[in-house]
């Protein structure tokens, strides 16, 4: 039965967290009606212009995907480098296969003209 209370408590805490954060930010935010510059996202920066709902080129998305693939790869390579003394040849071969698969993906994207800016 206590387990049920845990779940209910957890659900309550989770839901109230949403209202809590919104409420606190509402309380703390300074709402100066008169001064337009106080209400800007960057009070001391240059004036913002345009619409927040501007459209991004789809090309950015593909670059981001390629970036993520190689970003994650680096995490593996750091750990691999740390234990390289213990794994030696087997480790080198495994890493070569891993990097090779990623490079194949990059090569394919290149060949398909993904890296050409349009």
């Amino acid at each position: 039965m206590t387990g049920l209370w845990y779940i209910l408590g957890f659900a309550f805490a989770g839901i109230s967290f949403v209202f809590l954060t919104i409420g606190v930010s509402w309380l703390l935010s300074h709402r100066h009606k008169g001064d337009r510059h106080k209400g800007l996202p960057y009070e001391s920066g240059i004036d913002t212009y345009g619409d927040t709902w501007g459209r991004f080129g789809l090309s950015f998305y593909i670059y981001a995907l390629l970036f993520v693939a190689f970003d994650i790869e680096v995490i593996f390579i750091y750990l691999w480098a740390l234990v390289f003394r213990d794994v030696l040849v087997g480790g080198l071969v495994s890493m070569a296969i891993f990097v090779g698969i990623l490079l194949l993906g990059l090569g394919y994207a290149w060949r398909k003209g993904v890296l050409t800016w349009r």
Partner: protein
């Protein structure tokens, strides 16, 4: 990791290597569809041979118990490879006229199949999830493969949103199960659950995990009321992809159920049995009732595939509802596996005919396309009739025996499950109406004035031949029937021995 580990999963590695080889071939010789298609067909045959070869040696756990190669793994792997083969054979006739490349299609399909093969032998909750994601992510890409087509994109987005949503739910369920049992190894999860006091109620955390897992899996197999993505995703996708989506991910999701519910969660099966029974009943009934009103054959087949999910779930319910260690338990799992094989071939066959008719661009999958097909292209009409009769469950086709096994298992299990048997039979009778409606259109209506001859390539013919031969042989040729049953029995036994032994 040892050499024997690598030998045991060599079919899986082979399929992944094959997909990469196709990418390399596409880099060197772009726009050579014949190379990628030929490589895939040859590779899948070799892969199936490799799977059978590996299956000869004794079942063993590899990678410290995270993966197992046993008869169930081999059974499912061969089925997945066959599904991929038929899909690849059927695809060029539809994709080429629309200017869609084959190489990317086959490579993506093979990656998806490798995910399915990872699920089939998975003995660890995380490997199970990894396999599931590897299966569905290429599926989203395939659904939106005709990217200039608005319907394809719409279907892909719906499939993607609900698919990733259900994956998250499923993962949350896995997390709670892990939190409760303290392990991700399926064998240890089962052992930990077996020690629970079955007489008292389960802990709320475990119940919640069970609920989330059930919901997540129900989304993947498209059981009512978690089926809303199915019709749009199936209707919008390119037709060969629809054929694959209605079979591959569905059978793989049932493989996941076998590994997760039948193996890991077997000790608490009394708690999930009622849900399976209710889901099976409403899935069969609603799928069939809505299919009655469809005028688009692809959409009709989408709802019919929901209904077939219900029939397969009857097999699962027979296992779950039967007393532990009884004959009906085995019969239920055997029925589930046999049904999956029969369903895979007859459904792929039906979608292959729709693909063949849509060889010319602009041909819709409305039922009017089928008008007078009996006169325009007699063999296509005859094959379509065969697949539809099999889907209805009329002897002596594969579909009849599949339904018979599932229903008999349900009767054997007794209790509430035998009510399911009655519902299944009534549903099969109702389903005859909308399947035969297509047959009526094919043979009793005049073809439209604008109709042009049906063209088919050699590969399409090969794909149709495989599905038709399997649909007839599983039903009509005793050695084939008993061979598939024997294979299914051995595969089902694996699960039962292990759940009994703990």
């Amino acid at each position: 990791m040892t050499e024997t580990d690598l030998v045991a999963i060599s079919p899986l590695i082979f399929v992944i290597a094959l997909a990469m080889l196709i990418i390399v071939a596409d880099i060197i010789w772009p726009d050579r569809d014949d190379i990628s298609t030929g490589l895939t067909v040859a590779g899948l045959l070799v892969g199936a041979g490799l799977t059978v070869l590996v299956a000869q040696s004794e079942a063993r756990e590899i990678f410290a118990g995270a993966y197992v190669v046993d008869p169930l793994t081999s059974f499912l792997d061969v089925l997945f490879l066959a599904i991929a083969l038929v899909t690849v054979l059927v695809a060029p006739d539809y994709l080429r006229p629309r200017g869609l490349p084959m190489a990317e299609f086959t490579a993506t399909l093979l990656f998806a199949i490798s995910g399915a093969m990872l699920i089939s032998g998975s003995r660890d909750l995380l490997v199970l999830f990894l396999g599931l994601e590897l299966l569905v992510l290429p599926g989203y890409m395939l659904a939106g493969y005709a990217k200039r087509d608005g319907y394809s994109t719409e279907g892909a987005i719906k499939y993607f949103l609900l698919g990733s949503f259900s994956s998250a739910i499923f993962l949350f369920g896995l997390a709670l199960t892990w939190g409760f049992t303290g392990t991700t190894r399926i064998r240890e999860v089962a052992a930990s659950l077996a020690q629970l006091d079955t007489a008292s109620a389960l802990a709320p955390a475990l119940l919640m995990g069970l609920a989330l897992l059930t919901t997540g899996v129900a989304f993947k197999i498209a059981a009512v009321p978690f089926h809303y993505w199915t019709p749009d995703a199936y209707q919008g996708s390119p037709t060969p992809v629809t054929g694959y989506l209605s079979v591959g991910p569905k059978v793989a999701a049932f493989a996941l159920i076998l590994r997760l519910f039948v193996e890991a969660l077997a000790p608490i099966k009394a708690d999930w049995t009622p849900v399976v029974i209710v889901l099976a009943a409403i899935t069969m009934t609603l799928g069939n009732l809505v299919a009655l009103t469809q005028d688009n054959v692809k959409r009709m087949l989408a709802y019919s595939s929901i209904a077939h999910t219900g029939y397969i779930m009857v097999g699962l319910a027979a296992y779950a509802g039967a007393p532990v260690g009884s004959e009906a338990e085995r019969a239920g799992l055997e029925g589930l596996l046999f049904y999956s094989v029969a369903y895979a071939f007859m459904n792929l066959g039906a979608f292959a005919i729709v693909s063949a008719l849509q060889h010319r661009r602009g041909v819709t999958s409305q039922i009017e396309t089928f008008a007078g097909l009996g006169r325009r292209a007699p063999w296509a009409a005859i094959l379509m009739t065969l697949f539809l009769l099999s889907l209805t469950g009329i002897p002596p086709t594969a579909g009849f025996f599949a339904k018979a096994y599932v229903v008999l298992a349900a009767v054997q299990a007794g209790g509430w499950v035998s009510v399911l048997a009655v519902i299944a039979v009534l549903n099969a009778a109702a389903a005859a109406f909308y399947y035969l409606r297509v047959v009526v259109f094919m043979f009793m209506r005049d073809p439209p004035e604008t109709a042009r001859p049906v063209l088919t390539g050699t590969m399409m013919r090969a794909g149709l031949a495989i599905t038709a031969v399997m649909t007839i042989f599983i039903g009509l040729v005793p050695p084939v029937t008993s061979g598939v049953i024997e294979f299914a029995r051995v595969a089902a036994e694996v699960l039962l021995v292990r759940t009994a032994g703990g």
